[in-house]
């Protein structure tokens, strides 16, 4: 049915009347650009977060007092090891260190570089690092943001931490973390666990919290209950809860945007409806002529709908591609703040390019479906133009 000649005529029409379509295409591309950028950012963030969570322990426990986390005794990790079904128990030391003015803070993460499990989690971060030289002196790995901030304050080679005991501790800046970890690693300082303890003020047998894995998902509930029963002052958090709260956060941001976007979308539909209803007498004569020359209503509908579809398709490609370039190549200036606002250190986040079917289909449904729906009735009205028009 869709023979060459039909498409030949369609492209001919589109090309010859391009000035008529250009306005709609520009508005469409703008709308698509905005929409795609936001969805790209949110899906990329979600993707990175999921990847980060993937290497996190399934469960984390910590001691609480008055609802606040307190230093967790290291002895608890032995108790965990005694519970059947628990693997990879890893005590963790981390915390925020506030820079002089207290306006900025760094995330200090202590790592037991000799522990293989911890090693695996950090593999990406410390790929090219000579661990032996790293461990022989007080050294740390820092994120881009930290590095820049310290350099700005004339700490090029090392930094002097002030421990809670009032002593200065000089730690050498060994290397920066890879840029692709910027989303989480931007304000991070990674150092040996004992050093971190000293700077954050933990005792020798204290840690921030303890992570562990439960390989069999069917046992999660049971283990959760058992661990909660170990002590009165224990808080147990599992990975799924963390993931859900992040999901909710990003859903919320994306959702609020989408709902605001609906207002824009309805305006757009109204404009489309009006634009397509406004049929020039000349155009009516053209359609009447086509009908007089043996085109059926069906043929004219097909022509007009394919014309619309081509415009939808062209705008779709243009909008999505520009958004892709804007987000993944230029790191979405301005829009980024909407999602990452309130950043501690200036960040140079590179979004991981994620272009999955789900985002594209969402964009299609929220753009193309309203577009076509809005023009369907006006297009029909044009298609039933009386062929008598040709005789006038």
């Amino acid at each position: 049915m869709l023979n060459n000649a039909f498409f030949h005529f369609l492209t001919l029409q589109l090309f010859k009347e391009r000035s008529k379509h250009i306005g709609i295409i520009i508005i469409s591309v703008l709308i698509l650009f905005l929409l795609s950028s936001v969805l790209f950012i949110s899906s990329s963030l979600r993707h990175s977060l999921n990847e980060t969570l993937q290497v996190q322990p399934d469960f984390v426990i910590s001691k609480v007092q008055g609802g606040e986390n307190r230093a967790t005794p290291l002895t608890w990790s032995n108790e965990l090891l005694n519970i059947y079904g628990i693997t990879h128990v890893s005590p963790r030391v981390y915390g925020r260190y506030f820079f002089k003015s207290k306006a900025k803070s760094f995330l200090i993460v202590g790592v037991d570089f000799l522990d293989e499990q911890a090693h695996k989690n950090l593999q990406k971060l410390i790929e090219n690092i000579d661990i032996k030289t790293f461990l022989t002196q007080n050294s740390m790995l820092v994120g881009e943001g930290v590095k820049e901030y310290l350099a700005h304050n004339f700490y090029d080679k090392s930094y002097n931490f002030l421990t809670p005991k009032g002593e200065f501790k000089t730690v050498k800046i060994f290397q920066t973390l890879p840029t692709k970890t910027n989303l989480i690693g931007n304000d991070m300082m990674i150092m040996p666990m004992d050093l971190a303890r000293e700077i954050l003020g933990y005792g020798e047998d204290e840690v921030t919290d303890i992570g562990f894995n439960v390989p069999n998902p069917d046992e999660w509930t049971m283990i959760n209950d058992k661990v909660s029963a170990l002590h009165y002052d224990v808080r147990v958090v599992n990975k799924k809860e963390v993931q859900q709260s992040y999901e909710h956060l990003y859903n919320y941001k994306g959702g609020v945007f989408l709902m605001l976007f609906l207002i824009l979308l309805s305006t757009f539909m109204l404009i489309l409806y009006q634009r397509y209803s406004m049929v020039h007498s000349n155009e009516r004569r053209h359609i009447g002529l086509l009908r007089a020359l043996g085109w059926s209503i069906h043929d004219v509908l097909k022509l007009k709908l394919l014309e619309t579809l081509s415009i939808v398709f062209i705008s779709f490609i243009l909008g999505v591609v520009t958004a892709y370039i804007y987000v993944f190549i230029f790191s979405a200036p301005l829009l980024k703040e909407l999602f990452l606002g309130g950043q501690n250190l200036t960040s140079t986040i590179k979004f991981t390019p994620v272009l999955d079917f789900s985002v594209l289909s969402s964009i299609f449904f929220i753009y193309a479906l309203p577009f076509i729906s809005a023009v369907l009735i006006p297009v029909w009205r044009v298609a039933i133009t009386d062929p008598k028009e040709a005789m006038l």
């Binding site: 020359l293 085109w295 209503i297």
Partner: protein
């Protein structure tokens, strides 16, 4: 063959009704050339557009080669129009932004033929109407005579049996009008059924026309003039 029986057309306008066609009965045989003659408002153009199925009658029957064109679903009426009827309009009605070749191609596009077959038919038709030297020119750049020949090529491209012309010479000078009548003669010799609605006196003495039908106020005036 065109059969018209008891054809009426009235327009309802508020409370007054105007009768445009009043009990028309007409049988046109294959190969006949009919000239509907009358002043404007006599109903000849309305009659012509009903034969092409462009307008619907209020009652009565129009059969084109046995098919009731006014009562067919749009899909069939359009197919009938595309295959059996070639139209030539008073104002040529070309798409100004398209070339001659593209204009002539239009009636064939819904047919489902592929582009090669279409190009072949278009070339034939352009030759027949003697306009092939201008085939890539834009319709808006053509002279009146060339436009008319493009319109003829377009009417012929689907090789229809019936050619309907609505005031074909109204926008042509005398030379071009006579040229047009020559082309009609050729078509007549090819065995086409031709119906011309006109008030141009040039058609009064057309040698090949079998019948001149005078129309007045929506009726066929008694005393049909028959040439021959």
């Amino acid at each position: 063959m065109i059969q018209i029986e008891n054809l009426y057309k009235t327009f309802q306008h508020e409370n007054t009704s105007t009768t445009v066609l009043n009990n028309i009965n007409l049988h046109i045989q294959q190969g006949e050339c009919i000239i509907l003659k009358g002043v404007s408002g006599s109903g000849k153009t309305t009659l012509l557009s009903m034969m092409a199925g462009l307008d619907k009658p209020s009652s009565g029957k129009i059969l084109i080669e046995g098919e009731p064109i006014s009562k067919l679903p749009d899909l069939f009426a359009s197919q009938l129009r595309a295959k059996k009827i070639g139209m030539i309009f008073q104002h040529f009605n070309l798409f100004d932004h398209l070339s001659v070749r593209e204009n002539v191609m239009i009636p064939l596009i819904p047919s489902g033929l592929n582009i090669n077959e279409i190009n072949q038919k278009v070339t034939q038709s352009l030759n027949l109407a003697n306009i092939s030297h201008k085939k890539e020119a834009l319709a808006s750049h053509l002279s009146g005579g060339e436009k008319q020949r493009t319109a003829i090529a377009r009417a012929l491209v689907a090789n229809p049996n019936i050619i309907l012309c609505d005031e074909p010479t109204a926008n042509l000078d005398r030379t071009n009008s006579l040229l047009f009548i020559e082309i009609l003669k050729e078509l007549h010799n090819l065995g086409k059924t031709i119906v011309v609605a006109t008030h141009d006196p040039l058609f009064d003495n057309v040698s090949f026309s079998n019948t001149i039908i005078p129309m007045q106020e929506g009726t066929i005036v008694e005393g049909t003039v028959v040439n021959e």
